[in-house]
């Protein structure tokens, strides 16, 4: 390389860089967790294809935190949210988690998704800060959770079995399975296959998809080559919609069984008439509590709640209630209380009610926007699923699959 006259000499450059770096660090010391607030960290993707996850769950978490702060805060201390971007990348996620636990002194971490959760769970455990993920369905967590790792969303291994049941219960004997080839998609898709075969059905084709491609026509051709009448699809809304649009365009027929990511009314409306009679699974609607949450969400974000937002709201609530029960905002103290406040006690649906009950020495059972949210000692929730069918413009609940019927 040629040294032009524009060369900045080394000292100037180093000084500039050092000053800039120093300014950032100082700002960091001032900005992060002062002692007058408690910090809840949020670790989600905010850039790239799944940026919507971070953005929408931040809205949900803000709703929860505002309500908690209005009720006097967590153990009398106002909560501040610090968000960090995982960039859906293990390395960044670890650095970001370290910043939240070490630098910001977070009491608990909400997030991340299946992509990065398995990669950070040991580190959270070591740092003794609980992780409550509203978004990680991966079956890896089935027997790795508990202690410091919890989630408010159902495991893919349950979701997959529920999907298998829907297909079987509706009389389909041969189905095809498509899933995006990432942490979340594959564990869900694989359990659909295992579950459906366990129920005596046959899988005609299994197609693993790379997310983020522009054309899935060949994958569709492959999946529909034996003309299955039912195809299970596990994908995010973006990839899902491309696939369904191209399926419609190609006129391939059959009905779909869609994973919970796609069980939103905006998705059903966007795909529209072709989706009529297709199925989706989703969490059992949380009744009144959900409606209340949905209304608040809509007023803040200007759209109906995205998938996993009620779970994000509940995750924040659980963290705060656990802190109340532990009478401490330290992560290692409150972690142990997370399963305890979620089940077996007086049913509460708000932070205020829960905090009051705990002050009176009553055990509580938090029921939230996403359902009863009962956390097992393994950190999972054991929830029932709702079965939805599309009317061609929205999802309509047509049945329920009880948690007990998924033990096969």
């Amino acid at each position: 390389m040629v040294n032009g006259d524009k060369q900045v000499d080394r000292r100037t450059f180093l000084q500039t860089t050092a000053v800039a770096g120093g300014a950032f660090s100082v700002a960091g010391c001032m900005g992060g967790g002062g002692s007058d607030t408690a910090v809840l960290g949020m670790l989600q993707p905010f850039t790239g294809e799944v940026a919507w996850v971070g953005e929408s769950s931040e809205v949900a978490m803000n709703i929860a935190v505002d309500q908690i702060n209005e009720a006097g805060g967590m153990n009398g201390t106002d909560i501040e949210i610090v968000t960090e971007d995982t960039e859906t990348n293990q390395q960044t996620a670890i650095s970001a988690l370290r910043k939240l636990t070490d630098s910001d002194g977070a009491s608990a971490i909400l997030g991340p998704t299946s992509f990065t959760l398995p990669a950070v769970m040991d580190i959270a455990q070591e740092s003794q800060v609980p992780i409550i993920s509203p978004t990680a369905g991966t079956s890896v967590l089935d027997d790795r959770g508990g202690n410091y790792i919890f989630r408010t969303s159902a495991s893919d291994s349950l979701g997959g079995k529920a999907m298998a049941r829907i297909a079987r219960d509706n009389g389909y004997e041969e189905i095809a399975v498509m899933y995006v080839d990432n942490q979340g998609g594959r564990s869900f898709g694989q359990t659909v296959i295992e579950g459906f075969e366990a129920l005596g059905g046959t899988i005609t084709t299994e197609v693993a998809l790379t997310p983020g491609k522009s054309s899935y026509r060949s994958e569709l051709t492959e999946a529909f080559q034996d003309e299955p009448e039912f195809v299970s699809l596990t994908a995010g809304t973006q990839t899902g919609q491309i696939i369904l649009d191209q399926w419609d365009e190609q006129g391939l027929g059959g009905v779909w069984g869609l994973s919970n990511d796609m069980q939103t009314d905006s998705f059903a409306a966007d795909v529209g008439a072709p989706l009529e009679d297709s199925y989706a699974i989703g969490p059992l609607p949380g009744g009144e509590k959900y409606d209340e949450f949905a209304a608040e969400y809509e007023s803040r974000a200007g759209e109906s709640p995205q998938p996993f937002t009620p779970e994000a709201y509940d995750a924040a609530m659980l963290a705060a209630l656990a802190a109340e029960a532990a009478e401490s905002n330290s992560g290692s103290d409150l972690a142990g209380e997370i399963p305890a406040v979620s089940k077996d006690g007086e049913t509460v649906t708000s932070f205020q009610a829960g905090a009051d009950a705990l002050d009176n020495g009553t055990e509580i059972d938090y029921d939230g926007a996403s359902g009863p949210v009962d956390i097992t000692s393994q950190g999972n929730i054991r929830s029932s699923f709702a079965v939805f069918q599309s009317t061609g413009s929205e999802w309509e609940q047509v049945g329920e699959i009880a948690a007990d019927s998924l033990d096969f």
Binding site: R10, T17, T47, Q91, I94, D102, S103, D122, D143
Partner: protein
């Protein structure tokens, strides 16, 4: 402040790992002129090899089929060797190509490798990855001091790679590498078997990247394919270019700066409250740093230094020490 120190320790550890990567890349590009854009491949091979060698054998629910439960030391050495072997395999087809071809083919090979990691569950655990990777001397070092211990280990690795790079640089071997970088045909004309040199340099740099991967595996304790995207190669390149290629000190400085810059920009939201656009803005800043450095400081902060006649005479006089 203690919390800050702890965070700084983890940033320094990551920076150290990148420094080892950058030192390896410096052997490739800085010394030999190999346009390697698939550096992450060696990193990944080092990481997965040590993971597979050290994790316990799988239980029924786990996707992978091999876990040997060997000591961490064996794993790290194994990771380096495997990375070296992969360098030989990748080198055979690619090192005979023109440099631009090498750049693109090496990206391609790294991508193929990433897809293998994602799909071959029996070996790598697939997208679910490998977890519970042991850390050296975990039971012996007190937990509160462990991060510092591990940082020490990484610093040691940086020191070793630096010392070795320096030894290469000052040796006649390094001189031949530089001659190949400057003008391969002229080097051939002087009777140098340049393919062999390119290959040896490729392996040495690859082994360093493998070491970085092994260190990463035992630091992160979990591996998933998402940790091995092309952005790692790119970040290493940026570090090397900013620091100064052809200069080992520059490689270390650059890697440190780029990681510090990446982590420091995390504090941006606290400063200005720009809200939603902050994460994208951070990445834009990293991009801008690259362009600005290349424009105003093309040889990096610490450019390559010539070895003078006097130094040669002196070295020969003291019997080479």
């Amino acid at each position: 402040m203690l919390e800050q120190l702890s965070f700084m320790t983890s940033v320094a550890t990551v920076a150290g790992i990148y420094a080892v990567l950058a030192l390896g890349l410096n052997i490739h590009w800085g010394e030999t002129g190999l346009l390697n854009f698939g550096h992450v491949a060696f990193f990944a091979v080092g990481a997965y090899t040590t993971a597979i060698l050290t994790i316990p054998s799988p239980t029924a629910t786990q996707a992978y089929s091999f876990g040997f439960g060997l000591p961490v030391v064996v794993g790290i050495v194994g990771g380096c060797i495997a990375a070296g072997l992969v360098a030989v395999l990748l080198g055979i087809p690619t090192l005979q190509l023109d440099e631009e071809y090498l750049a693109i083919v090496s990206i391609g090979l790294a991508e193929i490798l990433r897809h293998v990691m994602m799909n071959e569950n029996w070996l790598t655990g697939g997208v679910a990855g490998l977890y519970g990777i042991d850390r050296p001397l975990r039971g012996v070092i007190p937990p509160e001091a462990y991060d510092f211990f591990y940082l020490g280990l990484v610093v040691l690795a940086v020191g070793l790679c630096y010392a070795y790079s320096r030894r290469l640089k000052q040796s006649p071997f390094g001189r031949v590498l530089r001659s190949i970088r400057d003008d391969e045909e002229a080097s051939i004309a002087l009777g140098k078997h340049t393919f062999r040199y390119r290959m040896q340099a490729f392996v040495v740099g690859g082994v360093m990247a493998g070491l970085a991967g092994a260190l990463w595996a035992h630091y992160a304790t979990a591996l998933t394919p998402t940790a091995f995207g092309a952005n790692i190669t790119f970040l290493t390149w940026v570090g090397l270019i900013v620091g100064g290629s052809g200069n080992s000190k520059g490689a270390i400085l650059g890697a440190g700066l780029i990681i510090a810059f990446r982590e420091a920009t995390r504090y941006l939201p606290d400063l200005y409250g720009l809200g939603d656009i902050i994460p994208t803005l951070r990445l834009i800043l990293v991009g801008a740093l690259v362009i600005v450095t290349i424009r105003y400081r093309p040889d990096g902060l610490l450019p390559e230094r010539d070895i003078s006649y006097a130094e040669y005479c002196k070295r020969v006089e003291y019997g080479g020490e």
